[in-house]
Symmetry: C2
Subunit: 442 residues, 2 copies
């Protein structure tokens, strides 16, 4: 068998790093639940026809699955299954499939891996975890949800050691209306080009727009719009100063102003109107979000989403929705080096053994501690106490327990950081609250 | 696009059922952590050559993945990737890959989906969640871990509403030694046949053994061994009464007796020696486990595992391990109909709105409640209070909050089950502890 080695684009964490990832997942889940989002999980696969054609580059990035035991002709392309590349498309399908059993507006969160066969690069993986919240309703969706979702993310991020961040909000109706107003008809194409502004710069964007059919004047106007950004409603005047009018533009400005106003009121300093944000996926129809870590703007968005009015529709009924997704793997890839866990195991107490014959007694001590929610394990072998203490030390386990023995008298527990040792009773001793679980520190 | 419909073998839960699944996952995780197991997660994919040839039927059940954008000739078979079919094979690879960064004996847990392209049937899925614990060491693994793992599972199960269960333990060295003693050399083949005893009955097993080369006497002897079962060490005498001796048999009997003895001491009534248990996977080398729900024995095992001495080896160093895996999806498929959740959302309090202009005030009330860990959401629309109460009722939300208004005086909260309403302050009111989170009931 070939040598064991990592597979590019499929990252894995060591146990201490996984404790940090779990802390993030726990805080995000708790925050989502505090805001009344219900958990669902969708299967990893969807019919490929449902996954495809959601955006420019996604099709060829889809991973198809096939049983090794099945011949290549065993399944027609239509019946073929692929791994989901986001959690929004599966969620829209779940809503359609279960509409009769859900109550609307339906608030759900979903924390799961997704797969994209992209070229792996910094912060871009082939398997990565997303943490999504979405709200869908039947027929119509109240616009106040478009302001609510980034506030939920801001609440989660405020409890995590990620440093300052900025949620950039736009409304696709603004560039769409503006482009139509200046006579640019290939709106989706132009949006996708402008979406690359941060990555490739204004000159390259201008060149691509012209290559796609825009005049130099149209490209310049689109770039002027894309440059507008403000932490408050003042962006509306800046757009009006460009002298363009279109009903769709007006609608977009009104909607975005409402989102920014609510954001400024409930989470001052977090949300900005940023008119270059477009998002690559075609299903967004109004508000769109991206999120930057301040100081790492070129890293790109770590939390994105938007409103989609037509993704979930069975032909008769449409379920418009709005969603936002934390790119957890992407976020952690950036900030993991700045974080550490106080230990690499949940264990708070290692029960030492003077002798292998004392294992049953040691197991009883550990069981008594666990009874009161104190993570405990018994030493692997009755080695010299010094070796057992070193075993705890290497993992960052703070306490070593010495069960009663003829030599030693009653039970005692040692804080191996301070060296302090004291008599203790497994049915009542409690560690300091800060030591009970591994801590995550910046 | 074709109609939305479930995909056979890829089950999904509704939100209320998902709350039950989450409760199981949480209790299992907490128990694993209380016993000092560290979480890891492995990527969903492994090289196919690492997945294949681990047992009779697994090869053709492996799902290979391929990018839609890649031609069929783009990757050689050797470089091809497949979805993991269990969590043991990926864990063994993870240990080899990270051996220099782990501390041994290494205790880890892993809760993740796995995929097998089997024919879907009751309790058998193509995508399902497994909850694994394993302990691996370098070179040698202490046998006391073989008794410890089922005790951890028993601890988790004792906190879950699953009814009575029985962990059946065997040691492969017993049938192996016995078969060699009676002159049966195709040991793996015979083990796999005997493993089907519960499913196909003794006559079919006898016929299969004879078809595979056993004499009628050998088959009868093997069946006599397989019929032995005891909650204590008395199984040793029953085996000795069969009059067969072989060094490997003796070794297996001693090892199994030790496991059963420790089990009877620390979790009386949970573990039984059951000499028909063999497990289908080839990598097990000693102790093996299966678990039955009492009263549903024919459903098969809901928690299985065993000791593997050679799975993780890089040619120079071997990392023997022992593991056990709760088949969470399989377990829930059986018992879900008997369980219910007190509500289908985490929300404990719905903040009602007298008027849409009061939304900012309602959001402030919800934020104050969340500040003290009370899951809260604001009503979707300022409908009549009766309609807002019905919205809460349909989801099982126990409390509706009425913010202060000119008409109504100060804030008040209503328990919509009893109809009781009382003045309340969002900065201090607390619901009964039992109402804070959804409860799971049998």
């Amino acid at each position: 068998m070939s040598k064991v080695r990592p597979i590019s684009g499929f990252p894995e964490w060591l146990p201490g790093e996984r404790i940090i990832e779990q802390h993030f997942e726990d805080v995000i889940r708790q925050t989502f639940e505090l805001h009344g989002f219900a958990s669902i999980q969708t299967r990893a696969v969807e019919p490929i026809e449902r996954l495809s054609s959601q955006g420019e580059d996604t099709d060829k990035e889809i991973y198809a699955i096939s049983r090794l035991g099945a011949g290549p002709e065993a399944t027609s392309r239509d019946a073929r299954l692929g791994l989901h590349f986001d959690l929004t498309v599966p969620f829209a399908r779940y809503v359609l499939e279960n509409a009769g059993k859900l109550t609307f507006p339906f608030r759900r969160y979903q924390i799961q891996p997704v797969w994209r066969g992209e070229r792996p690069q910094e912060g871009r993986y082939r398997e990565f975890t997303q943490c999504d919240i979405d709200i869908v309703d039947v027929g119509e969706l109240a616009p106040h949800y478009e302001a609510e979702l980034p506030l939920v993310v801001a609440d989660a991020f405020s409890k995590l050691p990620i440093g300052p961040f900025r949620i950039q909000v736009n409304n696709r109706k603004i560039p769409q209306g503006f482009y139509l107003g200046i006579g640019l008809t290939e709106v989706q194409t132009m949006l996708r080009i402008v979406d690359k502004l941060d990555k490739i710069g204004p000159d390259a964007v201008r060149a691509l727009m012209v290559a796609a059919g825009a005049t130099a004047e149209q490209a310049a106007a689109a770039l002027s719009l894309a440059r507008i950004s403000a932490p408050d409603e003042s962006f509306v005047e800046q757009v009006q100063a460009l002298g363009m009018e279109h009903p769709m533009l007006t609608e977009g400005l009104t909607e975005l102003a409402a989102v920014i106003r609510v954001g400024a009121e409930h989470a001052p300093g977090v949300m900005v109107a940023d008119l270059k944000v477009a998002r690559g996926l075609d299903y967004y129809t109004g508000t769109v979000y991206e999120t930057q870590l301040i100081g790492y703007e070129s890293y790109g968005s770590i939390c994105s989403g938007g409103r989609y009015d037509a993704l979930a529709s069975d032909g008769k009924t449409t379920y418009p929705g709005v969603g936002i997704s934390i790119g957890l793997s992407r976020l952690l890839a950036k900030i993991m080096p700045a974080l550490s866990a106080s230990r690499s195991t949940p264990t708070c107490v290692l029960v030492a053994l003077a002798d292998e014959s004392g294992r049953a007694q040691g197991m009883a001590v550990a069981a008594a501690l666990r009874q009161r929610d104190i993570p405990s394990e018994v030493a692997p072998v009755a080695a010299k106490f010094g070796k057992q203490i070193m075993f705890a030390q290497r993992r960052g386990i703070p306490f070593v327990w010495f069960p009663a023995s003829d030599d030693q008298g009653g039970d005692s527990v040692k804080d191996i950081r301070s060296g302090e040792q004291a008599a203790a009773d497994a049915s009542s001793w409690t560690p300091p609250a800060a030591d009970l679980r591994p801590r995550v520190m910046a």
